[in-house]
Subunit: 546 residues, 2 copies
C-alpha cells in the first residue's frame, strides 16, 4: 500500500484471490471483486467499468489470481481500473495548472508523494485568442452566425480549441516524462485546476453563456472521467479530476488555491488574493467563505500598459527612484535587456513616481515646466516627455542596456489607477460584507507570480493593498498547481474541494452599488481618505531599502 499518510486518487491494493476449483466455481471477475471488496477500506460501491472488463480478466488470470489491483478512489465510489502482477516501484500521477496563457505541471509519485518532475509551456490556444473572451468568441463562431440552429455536433470552433488544448497537454505530458524512463501511458491519474472557461474548452462544453448575463456555465462540478474520454495520452483509465468551479468568473483554479492556502480548514480568518486576468479574492475560514472577482488585473498582468508584459526574461520587475537624489534604478528578470514591464515592476514604478512627486495623487504627471525643486525639475526634463500629445515617463531610454525605449504613458497610468482602485474596492467590499476589518485577518495570502514578485510595501503605497504590517502578507506561489497536487495525494483534499464549493458565497460585483462607491473612493494615491494609509507618508521619508 502507499505511505500511511497518503490516500491517493488511485489506490494500489495488493490481493491474493482464491484459485478456481470445482468447489469454488465463481467467475474470475466475481473472484476478483470479492477479494477486493474484502480489503477496500470503506463500503462505497465498487464499479468495474465495462471498458476495463476484458483486459482486467485477462491480466488477473495471467497474474495467477494474485497481484495488485489499482482502484480509482472517486468521491462516491471505487472504480477498478487495472490489475498488475506486483507492486510497481512508483505510481506516477500528473497535476496540471491549466492557465489561460500558461500551463504548469508536476509529476507526482502516488506511493511516496515525491515530486518526480515539473514542466510548463504556453497555452497553445493563444493562437486563437490571447484572452478568454476572444476564445469564447472563437469557440462559438458558428453559433453567432446561425443562432438557434440545432447543432447536432460540437461547434467547429470549439472542437478546434479543444483539440488544441488536448494536444498541448499531451506535449506537456511528454516533456514531463522525458528522460525519466517512464511513458505517458504509465501515468495513472490527472488533476486539473483551471478557470471555468478553460475547463469548458477542455471538456468540449459550450462556453457561449459564460460571458453573457446571467453568466451561467454549463458545468461547475463534474465527476471524474477517464483519460481516454478526453483523448489524453495518459493511461486510458487514468481518472481525471477537474477542480470544481463556483461560477463563470470563479473557477477551479481558485478553488484549488483556497485548498492550497489552507484557509478553508483553519479556525482563523484569512484572505486569499489571486491576480490573473481578474483579481479574485476569497475571505473566510473553515466555517464560512466569501468570494468575489473583479476586472482589476489587466494592468497588473501586462494586459493594459502598452509596454506591459508577463513576468518573463527582459521584463522590468523592479524600479526605484531615490526621492532625494533622483537616481533611477531598474532591474529586469534574468538581467536581460528590458523589453517591457511586468505587474510588479509597474507597481514599483508608479509607487516610486508618486513618492518622488513626479505624479500627483490622481496619478497624473505633474508639468515639468512648473516644477520648483531644481533636482526634480532636472530629472523630469530628462525623463518626462510628450508623446502623441500626452505626457509619458521614459523608464528605459533607447540604447540603455542595449534594448529599445520603455515608456509609461498617461493612459497606462490611468489604467493602473483604475486597476489598483478596483483591487482595493474588491478587498474592502468583501470585508464590508462580513463586517470585519483588515486587522482581524490572520494572514493575507497572495498567490501566483504576482504574489512572488510584488513588494507589499509598494502596493500599500499605491493604496492597492491595505496598510498592514508587512508580516501579514504571505506569497504562496502557484497555489492552483499545489491544490491539484494535493487532490492526487489526499482523499481529505478531494472532499475539501467539494465542501469549499458548497460553502462559498459568491458576491457579484457587477451589480454591487457599494463596490462602485468604494471604487470611486480608491481612485487616488493612496486613497481619498489618507487616514486609511498612515504608513505611506513614513515610506516617503525613508531611504528606500525595500
Amino acid at each position: 500500500m502507499a505511505s500511511s499518510n497518503i490516500t491517493p486518487f488511485v489506490l494500489p491494493v495488493p490481493l491474493t484471490a482464491d484459485r478456481p476449483s470445482l468447489g469454488d466455481n465463481s467467475a474470475d471477475l466475481d473472484r476478483l471483486r470479492r477479494a477486493l471488496r474484502a480489503i477496500l477500506p470503506d463500503s462505497r460501491p465498487l464499479e468495474i467499468p465495462f471498458s476495463r472488463v476484458v483486459e482486467l480478466c485477462r491480466r488477473f488470470r495471467q497474474a495467477d489470481f494474485s497481484g495488485v489491483a489499482l482502484v480509482n478512489d472517486l468521491p462516491e465510489r471505487w472504480v477498478l481500473a487495472d490489475f498488475l502482477p506486483e507492486m510497481p516501484a512508483m505510481l506516477p500521477a500528473m497535476a496540471l495548472d491549466l492557465g489561460t496563457t500558461h500551463l504548469e505541471a508536476t509529476l507526482v509519485d502516488l506511493l511516496t508523494g515525491r515530486i518526480l518532475s515539473t514542466a510548463g509551456r504556453e497555452n497553445s490556444q493563444i493562437e486563437y485568442g490571447a484572452d478568454i473572451l476572444s476564445r469564447i468568441h472563437q469557440a462559438t463562431n458558428v453559433r453567432r452566425q446561425v443562432r438557434e440552429v440545432d447543432l447536432a455536433f460540437m461547434d467547429p470552433g470549439l472542437l478546434l480549441l479543444q483539440q488544441s488544448i488536448v494536444a498541448c497537454i499531451n506535449t506537456l505530458t511528454a516533456e514531463l516524462v522525458a528522460g525519466s524512463g517512464l511513458m505517458a501511458g504509465e501515468i495513472r491519474a490527472l488533476s486539473i485546476s483551471g478557470n471555468t472557461t478553460m475547463t469548458h474548452l477542455l471538456l468540449g462544453l459550450d462556453p457561449f453563456h459564460i460571458c453573457r448575463e446571467p453568466y451561467i456555465p454549463m458545468v461547475n462540478s463534474i465527476e471524474p472521467m477517464e483519460s481516454r474520454e478526453l483523448g489524453l495520452t495518459l493511461h486510458p483509465s487514468a481518472p481525471v479530476w477537474i477542480m470544481p468551479s463556483v461560477g463563470s468568473y470563479f473557477g477551479g483554479d481558485l478553488i484549488s488555491g483556497i485548498l492550497a492556502s489552507g484557509m478553508a480548514s483553519s479556525g482563523q480568518t484569512r484572505m486569499l488574493i489571486d491576480v490573473g486576468t481578474n483579481a479574485e479574492v476569497v475571505l473566510g475560514n473553515r466555517d464560512w467563505l466569501i468570494a468575489c472577482a473583479g476586472a482589476a488585473g489587466p494592468a497588473l498582468e501586462g494586459g493594459v500598459a502598452r509596454m506591459g508584459m508577463r513576468a518573463a526574461p527582459g521584463a522590468i520587475e523592479y524600479v526605484s527612484i531615490d526621492p532625494a537624489t533622483y537616481v533611477l534604478e531598474v532591474k529586469t528578470i534574468d538581467g536581460a535587456p528590458a523589453r517591457g514591464i511586468c505587474g510588479s515592476g509597474l507597481i514599483d514604478l508608479v509607487a516610486s513616481l508618486y513618492l518622488a512627486r513626479i505624479i500627483d495623487i490622481r496619478g497624473k504627471f505633474r508639468d515639468p515646466a512648473r516644477e520648483s525643486d531644481p533636482d526634480r525639475a532636472a530629472f523630469m526634463r530628462q525623463r518626462v516627455v510628450v508623446r502623441d500629445g500626452q505626457w509619458a515617463f521614459v523608464v528605459v531610454m533607447a540604447m540603455d542596456g542595449g534594448g529599445g525605449e520603455v515608456l509609461l504613458e498617461q493612459i497606462d497610468l490611468d489604467a493602473m489607477i483604475r486597476s489598483k482602485a478596483a483591487m482595493y474596492a474588491v478587498l474592502t467590499t468583501l470585508m464590508g460584507q462580513v463586517g470585519l476589518d483588515f486587522i482581524d485577518l490572520a494572514e493575507i495570502c497572495v498567490a501566483g507570480a504576482f504574489g512572488n514578485h510584488i513588494n507589499p510595501r509598494r502596493a500599500i503605497t499605491l493604496g492597492m493593498l491595505p496598510d498592514l504590517d508587512l508580516s501579514a502578507y504571505r506569497a504562496i506561489g502557484n497555489s492552483s498547481l499545489q491544490g491539484a497536487e494535493q487532490v492526487l495525494l489526499a482523499r481529505s483534499a478531494r472532499q475539501e474541494c467539494l465542501e469549499i464549493v458548497s460553502k462559498i458565497t459568491y458576491v457579484e460585483l457587477n451589480v454591487n452599488q457599494e463596490f462602485m462607491i468604494r471604487f470611486s473612493g480608491a481612485r487616488f494615491i493612496p486613497h481619498t481618505d489618507p487616514s486609511l494609509f498612515p504608513s505611506v507618508p513614513l515610506f516617503a521619508e525613508e531611504k528606500e531599502e525595500w
Copy 2:
C-alpha cells in the same frame, strides 16, 4: 411518467428546472441534476456519464430547461442518459434471446408495456461452428497455438465471433423496426438472455476456460454497459442488461427462464425444464433453488438423429402408429414435405414404436422375421429395413408427400434412449438432492420449442418425464425471451435476477455418482423399475387420441 405498474429500465422523468438568473447562477448541469434529484423516487446515486455531458447540456438549454429526462435505472445507481423536449409517444426497448443457433427479439414500449414487434434470425456465428464447443475452439485458436503468450489484444478468432454476433444483432434490430417508422437509434434499452458462452462471445471475453475443468467463466454477473460500448446501433446510451449466469453451463438464458416461470417468487415448489443443447433443470421456490444441467438434449433438438432437425417447416412434429391397425400417421410443421424429424416428432415416434411393439424395452428393433402377430409382421416387413447392416424404420418413404425418405436408424434410437435416460436421471437426481417426490411439485414448467411441441403423455411413455397427471405439465414457451422482456419493464424483475443468482445451488452432474446410477436405471422404456410408470400400460391399451 410510465404506467403506474411499470418501473422501466429507462425511466422518463418530466421536469421543469429553475431558469438561470443573476440570483441563481448554478451551472446548467447542476440545475438539471438538482431538479432531477428532487423527483427521483429513491436516493440511489445519480451519475451523469461524461460521454453524455456535452449533449445533455446542449439539449437541456435547447429545451429551455423544461422537458423529459431519460434516466437509466441500474441496480445501484441512476444514470442520466438523455433529455428530450417533451414526453415521447413511445419509448422503445429491445428484449433479445441470444441463442446458440437462433436469435429471437421483441420490441417493447417502456411506457405501456405493449409489444411493438417481434423478429428472429439464425445466429450468424453458425458459420464458425454449429455448437458452443466448436465456437470456443474457433475463438481461442491463437491461444491454442501459442499458449502463455501475453495477448495484448483480443484473440483474432474471438474478435471475429464478436463482430459476427454484433452484426447479427444489428441486422435483427433493423428487422425489428422495419416498417414501424422507428429508427434503431431510437431504441433506448436492451436486455439479453444468453448462455454463458454466447455472453462471453458477445462481450469479447475469453471463453477458453468455460469448457475446461474446473469450468470457470470470466464473468457471471456484469453491470449494464452502454450500447455504444458493444458497437450496437441502438441509441448510444441505451443500457444493456446482460442476464447474469451461475456458471459455465448454467447461463443467463436459464436465469431468465426461472424469472419468467415465476417459480422464484412463489411459495409452492416448481420444476423448470429447458431443453436445448443441454437439458437444464431447476427446482425450487422463493426460499431455495437448486439446478443442474446435463447433456440430455441433443437427440431432442435434432442434434443427434441423422434425420433430426430443428422445429421448422418440413420437420415431422407428430407421429402415431395405431397399435391395433398399424396405421401410421405423420404430420409435418406447416404441412410441408417431410425433410426430417424434430424433437417432439422423435419422442412421438419412439413412444409409438414401443407401444406398437416394434422396438423392445431396451429400444432395440425386434426382428421382423421372428414376429408372430401377422398384422404387425406385415407392417414391419414394410417399414423395418436393413441399412448399413443395421435395422432402420422408414418413417416417410421416398416420394411419400413429394419428399425424400426419412429414416430412424438403430443408432438414432440408441442416442434417443441415452438422452431420455439422462433427462430422467437429471430430474430424479435433483429431487433426491432435496428429498422431495415428483408428487410434491405444484407444476412442471417446460420451456422453449420443446415445451410447446412435446406431448407429455408420449414423454411419460418413454420414461423421459415422470408419470404425473398431465395437468401438472405447463408449456411456458420462450421463457428466456420472456424474462428479458420482464427486466425491461419491472425493477422487481431486475432485482429478482440478481437474487436468483445468489440463491441458486448448482449441482455438478459430471462428478455425481448418484446421477450415473440413476442414468443406468433409466436406460429402459419406460424404466428398469416399471412401477415408477404405472400409466404406461394403460396408455398402450387406449385408442390414441392424444
